[in-house]
Symmetry: C2
Subunit: 225 residues, 2 copies
DNA sequence: TTCATAGTTCGACGCTAACCGAAGTATGAA
DNA sequence: TTCATACTTCGGTTAGCGTCGAACTATGAA
């Protein structure tokens, strides 16, 4: 009698087809933009915006702003578990996952995100930087002393970069990988550096193409693989 | 995209406060009547009837007719689990259970159900009969050869009872215990027998009062405790 | 600055569903 | 048979909410 309404409040949120579509699309933990969710749910962007606001207010999803994009993800595994339970109750057959993100393989491999490296290479680089203790997880991402030495040795002027208004390091959500890569002034400087060294170059659109020796040098520099 | 609507269909059923109240009241596996559920949910009987029809159509609950009563129970533990999950999402505190059924302790202990024994004694008796293999679970409940000997030895004329139109054995849902007790011609004959032996007698209303030696004889006959 | 894209807010429309009164059915009691 | 209880069905009202068009804000690109 007391717990009915509280259950109903949450269940009602899951009980709309459009919202349920959005939530199931997020079930594998990826983050999607409002536009992507609108397409998946089959409703307009205005409608989607309203739905996402409700889901956020109930803390079922979290929002991460990124420029003019807003990425939404489930707030936790428990949400996915309840959805799984509901699927079980509905005696569902296997879920069909829609592939999102750039279809072009080149875009997936490496691309520019505003001004820094994104895609598989970008995510690999931040993973490596963490593994090598070049950066530490602070509120966001912070450069370590070791990292300062490392990037200085690479030819970057960290002090100059740190002077600007822009944060030196920024964890940036990757569009295709759905994981973080390195943004901020450092991320931008690194991409500039890679291009200056001839490791990679910009192609049409946002594609970044590493040359074979360039990719090898990149991997070697960050001890990848 | 394909599983959203199927989730939504179930979730929408849980998303109405009145239905959620009913379902949470059923979460401990007991069976309740439509009237009881109406009271718990705070809606009229008509409204409740409609809700229960929807929940039944979705196979979230099962209905068991019993004279002019209709008992409803959850169709399975998975329903309760999903409800638990939703409660968890809602960060609920402990649930408050409403006590249902006869408040009078005497009624709970033993009473007449139409014409046979119900309450704690009734449930104990059917449990014992199963344990002693006097009855077997058929579509309903069926007398075994061993049971036929047992009850014949007790002085019952099983052949005569079996000749009537009325089923010999019937599993009957107990009002207070929310579990089955033994009804049917055999159940009625047994209660008659207990009263004839002086083990128990009817008091005002539906209360059946076992005498202390009568209860002892009853327990001894069915090897209870 | 100007334009384009991403997203939100507002307002109005329309549909669904919860709700209850009233009437009808089914079962038990007297 | 008559009455009472338990429940269902029907009909009409009402309220909530999902939906989209249009306008507005914010960010990035040129």
């Amino acid at each position: 009698m007391k717990d009915g309404p509280v259950i109903a409040k949450i269940a009602a949120l899951l009980g709309d087809p459009a919202r349920a579509n959005m939530l199931t699309a997020l079930m594998d933990g990826r983050a999607l933009t409002a536009s992507e969710l609108a397409g998946l749910a089959g409703v307009t962007l205005q409608t989607t915006s309203g739905h996402l606001a409700k889901l956020s207010a109930a803390n079922l999803i979290l929002m991460e702003k990124q420029g003019r994009h807003r990425y939404f993800r489930l707030s936790g595994a428990d949400v996915a578990e309840v959805l799984e339970g509901l699927m079980g109750l509905a005696e569902r057959t296997g879920a069909v996952r829609l592939r999102t993100g750039p279809k072009d393989q080149a875009l997936r491999a490496a691309r520019i995100c505003y001004d820094h490296l994104a895609g598989e290479r970008g995510v690999e680089m931040l993973d490596a930087a963490r593994r090598l203790h070049l950066v530490a997880e602070d509120a966001d991402v912070a450069l370590t002393d070791k990292g300062r030495d490392f990037f200085t040795h690479m030819g970057l002027d960290i002090d100059r970069l740190a002077k600007g208004k822009r944060p030196l390091c920024r964890a940036c959500l990757d569009w295709s990988e759905r994981r973080n890569h390195l943004g901020g002034a450092l991320g931008a400087a690194l991409l500039d550096s890679f291009i200056a060294r001839g490791w990679a170059r910009r192609l049409e659109g946002r594609v970044i193409s590493f040359t074979p020796p360039g990719e090898q040098a990149f991997r070697s520099a960050f001890s990848i693989e």
